[in-house]
Symmetry: C2
Subunit: 338 residues, 2 copies
Amino acid sequence: MPTNRQQHLDNRPEGEAVAGNFKLVTAETPALEDHQVLVRHHYLSLDPYMRGRMNDSKSYAQPQPLGQVMQGGTVGEVVESRNPKYAVGDKVVGFGGWQEYSVVDGNVVGALRKVDTTHVPLSHYLGAVGMPGVTAWYGLVKIIAPKAGETVVVTAASGAVGSAFAALAKARGCRVVGIAGGADKCRYATEELGFDACIDYKQHPDVKSMSQALKEACPDGIDGYFENVGGYIFDAVLLRTNAFARVALCGMIAGYDGAPLPLANPALILINRLKIEGFIVSEHMEFWPEALKELGGLVASGKLRPRESVAEGIAAAPEAFLGLLKGRNFGKQLVKLV
Amino acid sequence: MPTNRQQHLDNRPEGEAVAGNFKLVTAETPALEDHQVLVRHHYLSLDPYMRGRMNDSKSYAQPQPLGQVMQGGTVGEVVESRNPKYAVGDKVVGFGGWQEYSVVDGNVVGALRKVDTTHVPLSHYLGAVGMPGVTAWYGLVKIIAPKAGETVVVTAASGAVGSAFAALAKARGCRVVGIAGGADKCRYATEELGFDACIDYKQHPDVKSMSQALKEACPDGIDGYFENVGGYIFDAVLLRTNAFARVALCGMIAGYDGAPLPLANPALILINRLKIEGFIVSEHMEFWPEALKELGGLVASGKLRPRESVAEGIAAAPEAFLGLLKGRNFGKQLVKLV
């Protein structure tokens, strides 16, 4: 059996996550039992939610266990199979974690999904046509539910969720305004991703300045907001919401390190009669087929051209992940293993 | 024509509202024109939302104009009519403001509503079978939408909204927990209003203490919350919410004086996948008939026995209103004029 290098969570962060929280470990892959398949991972997905699980605190998911492989989405190829549903060479999406190989019981519902790479590159099944894309879809379609002509705003605009959000919102006739860190990301958002405008938060580091920038970018106010970040940007957006605006809340990256992250003026929820809804996309599996179909179509037709930041090799995963938390990635952050 | 004493808003509060913001003025009632009726007010309604309108700031409603009669709900009797739809002696609910008489165009839709006082005392049409009752109904039925066996919590438990909320929630098989200020109000809530438990916030003046009290009063967690107050109580409730809990947000009385009122940990909206929705009951008139029918039935059958705090005479309105903002009322606050 092949040698399998893995990244374990060695200890929990105190405040900011650091490289020393992870440990590179070499293991053997066990012999397969009936129904199992051996998947060689081509790409690991790195996602902001992983930071939350590194803490040992109450949340919607169990904490990432110490001394075990970091959990996460993977795409790869079946290299050995004792399950008639999977043949060697099949391309599959799974949840194999930060390691080079995984052994999966192919009979567990949802554990693996075969994908077609004719029109969609394999790596995109971790991004635009995967969990981040469906996250954007659910927040936009099921919570914000925009009408044509409405203005919707998304943070982390150039990332995996933000880029899918833009394509989906443009397809529904919305004005789409992004928020991203840096002129490069903003230029990419407007020139490549279809955003009508993009605000560089590094140029607007406080509520007042961000609120003014939003006023200019959203002359008709804000009807829908997809919240990824939290903090002063959330406060500034709420100041610009129209009556009956909807907020889909799917991340609070600014608060994962334990810094206090209050909402300055919740009275705006009443004043503007807002609806704010938190969601976890894995709890809404019934919508994935519909969402993936639309997202796959947008990618295949070139209307959604997601960008990727690719780190090379399992050893590079921790630094790539820490960079993602600081916004150093540009588009979907992946680790390429093959 | 009779002399008509009125309370005007003379100047806007700077911070806390004070008696000097109001001015007692004597006016003549004008002669009626076609379609108009003259209503003699029996009771004025005093409600927390009026404090918000005293500020000259953006909100869902226009600010109360300076130098004009304080706006507000009224019940009374038609004493003169030039409209065939209204006869002298009819009992009517309207929005006549802080004055002894109002002249109303009876053809304006919604300006006046005739009510039957056979089974429901006239004053209750300003409380349990009026705007506060419908407010409780909409928040409970349309936003919280509880299942039997779920736990719901309401602040200002002994007030007009809270007491209606309890009766409506008990009718749906919920565990209902109130929060109120003082042992008297809490005893009344559990002994008279049907609350399963009531927490005295004066005994629990910080998040930690309130959160512990909620844990004891809500052993199965909180599935629905009707927010009237804001501040640390909101923070404490969010800490005890179950996954997929719903929050109906209809008041932020703790913030009307301009004190900052942040929400400490909005990440809980994501962690517990909460839905928080602000609403103004006057924007949902289509549900009023259904709500009033249920509320009238609860009062007529004795299942809802709302208490009233009654101030006497138009001159007493400002002090009664300021007392309401400080929680000095016990049940629905009214001013009796006849």
